[in-house]
């Protein structure tokens, strides 16, 4: 049995292209058909956002970036349209803009429990589709129970910042790699893929990684 192709993904919970890219990657991985092992890594797009920012991304973009509200509406409408094309019903009227560091700590805790992928999906869905709050510990603990995590344990690790160092290590690693935006995919530790690519692009990269491995294995065998 061959070793799965490892895919490391840097991503943020409040990144619209990360959720769209996740769907496209999953589609590409299905087209590829081989075994793939995915691990998510933390990336904070706006680490200085207050947890209790009182407003939606529309308010955030207009207040923080100075973009006129009508222009923000046009931008978000475009994103919503593309999300729709991959089966995601973004609801920007009910999104709670927040700080995502606790959500990232939760993802590391979930990884330690073997449910990181489920937690990632739950966080993205909560943020973009269900109008959930992904910055407050109580809300995160409630959400974590939906993937089988223990509420009290989640509250404890988030209050103690048990996984904060892991989050910061991921962010530092991204910086060291020169990753400036997300989603960013690292395939088998050698190929980089940036952004919400089409599914076929992901399938092609995975296939390339598999072919290269096969060649390397063949070379090793012939050298013995």
């Amino acid at each position: 049995m061959s070793t799965p192709i490892k895919v490391d993904i840097w991503s943020d919970v409040q990144c619209p292209w990360c959720y769209i890219g996740k769907r496209k990657f999953e589609d590409g991985a299905a087209q590829f058909g081989g075994e793939v092992e995915v691990e998510y890594h933390s990336f904070e797009l706006a680490p200085d956002t207050p947890v209790d920012f009182d407003g939606t991304p529309k308010d955030y973009l207009s207040q923080r970036k100075g973009i006129p509200l009508d222009q923000v509406d046009v931008m978000l409408d475009r994103v919503v349209g593309i999300a729709k094309s991959v089966g995601l019903d973004y609801d920007y009227d009910h999104v709670h803009q927040t700080n995502t560091v606790k959500a990232h700590e939760l993802l590391h805790f979930a990884k330690s429990k073997g449910v990181q992928l489920e937690m990632k999906e739950a966080l993205l869905k909560a943020y973009f589709i269900d109008g959930g709050h992904v910055g407050r510990i109580e809300d995160l603990a409630e959400l974590a129970t939906t993937v089988g995590l223990d509420r009290d344990e989640v509250v404890a690790v988030l209050e103690a910042q048990t996984y904060l160092a892991d989050v910061k290590a991921d962010v530092a690693q991204a910086e060291a790699y020169g990753i400036q935006g997300v989603p960013f995919f690292v395939i088998d530790g050698k190929y980089g893929v940036s952004g919400a690519q089409e599914a076929a692009a992901f399938a092609n990269v995975l296939e390339q990684a598999r072919s290269e491995r096969a060649e390397e294995e063949a070379t090793e065998v012939s050298a013995r």
């Binding site: 619209p16 475009r78 094309s85 960013f184 980089g192």
Partner: protein, 47 residues
Amino acid sequence: MTAETATTTPFTMLGDPSAAACVGDSCEIPQRSEQAVVNAQLDEDRV
């Protein structure tokens, strides 16, 4: 993310260098994705 990143990462960059990504707190949409929006709207009979 742009092709600029491809020159700074230790990875061999593959795929479309203009694919949509969030850089900082900016998540702008690449122009070429307009067609995806039109297609979605066509699917919903909004065009």
